[in-house]
């Protein structure tokens, strides 16, 4: 089982590095938002720094959401997903490996890039640790919950990316706790509470999402 986990993990990384677009797309999107905001809204540092916590979090959320649809789609289209479902190994292991690999390549990468965005949007330096910590705890939840949506919609020929509609409502608590944590960090308030909440959400998602994803995949394929 550990072997399967490692093999899936390796394969996902290989795929991303070969295709590259999957890898850099969310990051480019993230950067784009940071570049477009000053251009479109206002270049004033004071104003931007007020916006920064929210904008970074909204951008991270959207970047994750947009990358979610591809998680199972290409496997579905080339038939690998069928093979996955027919494997005697427990499905949730593979699923968890895929989601975690996805997280490392989007969520973690976004987290590491966040200080750059913070800088570009004049986020006060005190906010940075809060930003990174909240993203670190929040983005895995986004990936896990998003994967449920991806699994539910993977078999659809039409009506495709319902995924945003399905997943967005579920993302909102993470957004609220996450951006509040950053705002708290900026104003010097304690942010332990928010981080604890984000951690609790993550624990819940880690416990329940793999089961939901596996069930959803089986349901989607069987049609």
């Amino acid at each position: 089982m550990a072997g399967l986990f490692a093999a899936t993990w390796r394969r996902e990384f290989l795929l991303s590095f070969r295709r590259k677009s999957d890898l850099v797309n969310p990051l480019i999107f993230f950067l784009m938002v940071a570049t477009l905001f000053p251009l479109g809204v206002s270049p004033e540092p004071g104003f931007l720094s007020q916006l920064a916590p929210g904008v970074v979090w909204v951008a991270a959320l959207l970047a994750t959401l947009l990358s979610m649809d591809a998680l199972f789609r290409s496997d579905y289209e080339d038939g690998s997903l069928e093979q996955l479902l027919l494997s005697p190994q427990p499905l949730f292991v593979v699923v968890l490996a895929k989601v975690l690999a996805h997280w490392v390549m989007t969520g973690l990468a976004l987290t590491l890039m966040a200080p750059l965005l913070g800088l570009m949007l004049f986020l006060p330096a005190e906010g940075m640790p809060g930003l990174m910590l909240s993203l670190l705890l929040g983005t895995p939840t986004l990936s896990l919950v998003g994967a449920i949506g991806a699994a539910l919609t993977v078999g659809l020929k039409k009506g495709g990316v319902l995924i945003s509609l399905l997943v967005l409502p579920l993302y909102i608590p993470v957004l609220i706790f996450g951006s509040s944590a950053v705002q708290a960090a900026v104003t010097g308030l304690p942010l332990g509470g928010y981080l604890a909440l984000l951690g609790a959400l993550l624990a819940l998602a880690l416990g329940l999402a793999p089961l939901a994803i596996s069930a959803a995949l089986r349901i989607s394929i069987s049609s």
Partner: protein, 245 residues
């Protein structure tokens, strides 16, 4: 498992029992809604602060309560459908979604209309409002997923998974949003306390709430019966039924 549980699982039994329940619920719903509306529009006293715009509450609160209850029902039906593979539960899930969604729309619309005279704006980003909006999105998601998947049983299972995931999230959403920003009135009906409103104000509200529940039952049964006929169209008893009609 008690016997009625297995009976419920039979679409045929379900069709028959809803057939005999329908007239009662229809009568009750009509009576309560008409009576409640007249009472609330013409007889209930105006609020000393908000004046007559207060009368919107008699639609607003029942629809808001129902929007939430309908989601519970949907998720419970989804769970039963997934665990016991019960067809009727699948059908209940599918039937409840549009009714719940329309109730959420009504709550949002009446709230927005009410907001204009009281808060001076159609929309504010307040906790109750936001969480009701999110609830509407959850409904729309379930409905969209259900209609996007062609195969009926696949659609039902997928929606059930989504409804359950949403159910887990509803308290989280509610809590997070509430804590994030609150402008809205706190709850009127609480089990532990007496309502703050005078009786002549909340009595019609109670009538309307019960009326809405009865109406929900009627609408649900109507949809459920259609669904049963459609899904069971190949069985002998539906053929018999069709011939008799």
């Amino acid at each position: 498992m008690p016997r009625w549980f297995y009976q419920l699982a039979s679409p045929r039994w379900c069709y028959q029992i809803t057939g005999s329940l329908l007239p009662w619920f229809t009568g009750a719903a009509l009576l309560l809604l008409i009576g409640g509306t007249i009472w609330s529009l013409a007889f209930a006293p105006a609020d000393y602060q908000q004046g007559n715009s207060f009368r919107i509450i008699y639609l607003h609160v029942p629809s808001a309560i129902l929007a939430q209850s309908a989601y519970m029902l949907m998720a419970v039906a989804g769970a039963i459908g997934l665990i016991w593979k019960m067809k009727v539960a699948d059908m209940v899930l599918k039937s409840a979604a549009p009714i719940g969604a329309s109730m959420a729309v009504l709550a949002l619309a009446t709230g927005a209309i009410w907001g204009k005279p009281t808060w001076g704006s159609w929309w504010v980003w307040d906790a109750r409002l936001t969480s009701m909006l999110i609830l509407l999105f959850l409904y729309l998601g379930v409905m969209a997923l259900n209609s996007a998947i062609e195969n009926e049983s696949t659609a039902a299972q997928a929606s059930a998974v989504l409804a359950l995931v949403g159910l887990v999230n509803i308290p989280i959403i509610k809590y997070s949003v509430e804590w994030w920003n609150t402008l809205h009135q706190p709850a009127t009906f609480k089990l532990t306390e007496k309502p703050a409103m005078p009786a002549e104000m909340w009595l019609p509200l109670l009538v309307m709430v019960i009326g809405f529940y009865c109406f929900f039952a009627v609408s649900l049964m109507l949809r459920l019966r259609n669904e049963i006929i459609w899904r069971e169209r190949r069985t002998g008893w539906v053929r018999e039924l069709l011939k008799k009609q």
